[in-house]
Symmetry: C2
Subunit: 252 residues, 2 copies
Amino acid sequence: MSLIRTRPEEKGADIPLRIYSNPICPYAQRARLIAAFKGVKHEIINVHLKEKPQWYLDDINPYGLVPTIEHNGHLIRESLVTFEYIDEVFGDSHSWPTDPYKKAQAKLLLSDFGDRFTPNYYKYYRNAQDENTPKLLQKYFKSVEELIAQNGGPFIFGKNVSAIDLLIWPWFERLPALFTHAPELKTLYSVDSVPLLIKWDAAMRETDAVKSTITPAERMTAFLANALSNGGKHDYSLLNIDGLKIYTKETE
Amino acid sequence: MSLIRTRPEEKGADIPLRIYSNPICPYAQRARLIAAFKGVKHEIINVHLKEKPQWYLDDINPYGLVPTIEHNGHLIRESLVTFEYIDEVFGDSHSWPTDPYKKAQAKLLLSDFGDRFTPNYYKYYRNAQDENTPKLLQKYFKSVEELIAQNGGPFIFGKNVSAIDLLIWPWFERLPALFTHAPELKTLYSVDSVPLLIKWDAAMRETDAVKSTITPAERMTAFLANALSNGGKHDYSLLNIDGLKIYTKETE
């Protein structure tokens, strides 16, 4: 069976939202998570991120990245922008804490996530970690732990899932794969070190939103092993299993 | 006169907001701009960013960066987080466009600003620009120009200043200083190339918020020249003029 796909059909009018995604991409998963969390009926178009379809670059996203969302004839890119758009447009209320100070704490956790967590996380994909990398990841774990403690858990702001849980979750889903390569991290992310965070992880895995967007752990592990043997470069061809429909560049 | 300052007094109860800032820092200016724009009475504590006071690191911001804001006993850091907090807490409505798609466009312009504009802008401070740098800056200018055109100007979303105007303005204030070092950029930021953006620039300089936070162009030029002669490293000591009160590390 050929997995080369031409451009998808126009989005059907009965499906309000289309998400251009890739199952392995944590940024794209943010958009899928908020759509699932808010119960928005949506269609997923999986784009091959190495062999990018020309129509995707030309008409959907000039940078070739995912996610991009399509709603009411508008195309919107960037994971946080698509997340906040879906969150704001669908449902009765958005998923950030309503208290402005708590909301600022959530946004700060997100800002530190981008500035301090993900750069250190991705160092492992490039085998570029140094002695400070585990400490910096642990420092971030501890800051989430502290906020969960303040708010009583099991989620970061208490009894209910809110935006920040969903926005950082995709990278936590991928930690077990990282531990197969970097077992020294496992003690930093343990019941002894960050008990509330470990409970948060378990509680997240029980939510419908997470269940509906999760990728099998074996596939994550294979993906990471492949990236590591390839100098940190991702090879999305290993997604082409299970008959998953992935749009890639046309060979004709 | 010694410019060494010990820790400032507790914030007075009659002043709702304190902003830890530095006149040369565009990120800190974001917080000062939104406070001025919303008419929030505030106090500014200028922190020396090279010779950081120990009390600032210990009790206000562990990263030693500005802005940090103090409100209702809470300390909040990170320029965008402080901006959105001030915007949300003070006044009757926030300054983002109310239409969700326009808001997404504004957030996208901000996302591209951080990912694509500022990294190229700062390459000039380090003399690290290459042949693509001016093109990438121009591409960003054009994307702002396009949005102003869509919305009729003079501001990015039409007749009124909104969040995105204020969030990107500080770097545009500093462009004339950059042009003294990189005159080749001047043709890219001209009436011939981006006429609506040049009008936007002029309109911004007429707003009260900008007028109240602006730094004299000569000081900006001196600051850039100093950074350039110092391998991109900022020397905030040149701020110690005009009797400006700057808190720095104690020498005793």
